[in-house]
Symmetry: C2
Subunit: 136 residues, 2 copies
């Protein structure tokens, strides 16, 4: 559960039960979730939804900038989180796949330089992997 997120319903999206459910699950989670986890949480709360609908809702939310999609561990994990939680990076335990939020960002004050072209940078992704307390 997280409070203090100021989330406005994205313009142009109808307020449907499926979308409310997905948004609510994301709000209540303190970590990014996979589509399957979101699906199971919604079912667990006694609602009915289809996994394909979860994907479609997440796509729509991502397009509206409400949600960020992140893949970790070379595609083993694809996770979704509210953008309102702010710019952040994650560390993944290679053993148990626990996700730990990083509280700083290496790209702050860093200027990438390139070899054969000059890239106009619009974003970046940082992923740290290692062992969590329980797994080492």
């Amino acid at each position: 559960m997280r409070d203090g997120l100021n989330i406005k319903w994205p313009e142009g999206l109808k307020r449907t039960k499926a979308r409310e459910c997905v948004l609510s699950v994301l709000k209540d989670s303190n970590r990014p979730l996979s589509a399957m986890e979101i699906f199971e949480e919604i079912e667990g709360r006694g609602h009915t939804i289809w996994l394909s609908t979860v994907y479609r809702v997440l796509d729509a939310f991502e397009e509206k900038g409400l949600v960020i999609k992140t893949s970790l561990l070379n595609n083993e994990l694809t996770l979704y989180d509210l953008k309102a939680t702010g710019h952040r990076h994650y560390a993944v335990c290679v053993e148990c796949h626990k996700i730990v939020t990083m509280t700083n960002c290496p790209m702050k004050d860093f200027k990438p330089s390139f070899k054969d072209d000059e890239i106009e940078v619009i974003g970046h992704k940082v992923e740290v992997y290692g062992y969590c307390k329980d797994c080492r």
Copy 2:
């Protein structure tokens, strides 16, 4: 084509035609390649190979530490490169998917801090995205 890579044949792997082909294609490329690109390049050179074999060879090479597998753009791209080219990161053009090598690393001299756990860091991945010269 790249010279100066000191690559020794990994211990415990038989020297087969399929593996020689894959290794040679990786050596000759100046950028990371997808399994499909490697497959097509081998076919283009007049050899025969199966895509599943390419995957198996790449897996074996990765396990032996000869090759590094990297996924970019949330799984849109999965690429393989020789580890001998050294520690490096890539920038991807979100438009044309051109891959540009970064010549520096933001994680050098950076100490990540974590929120709910202490991760023993064993590695990291950095991905920069933006627009290349041709696409902006």
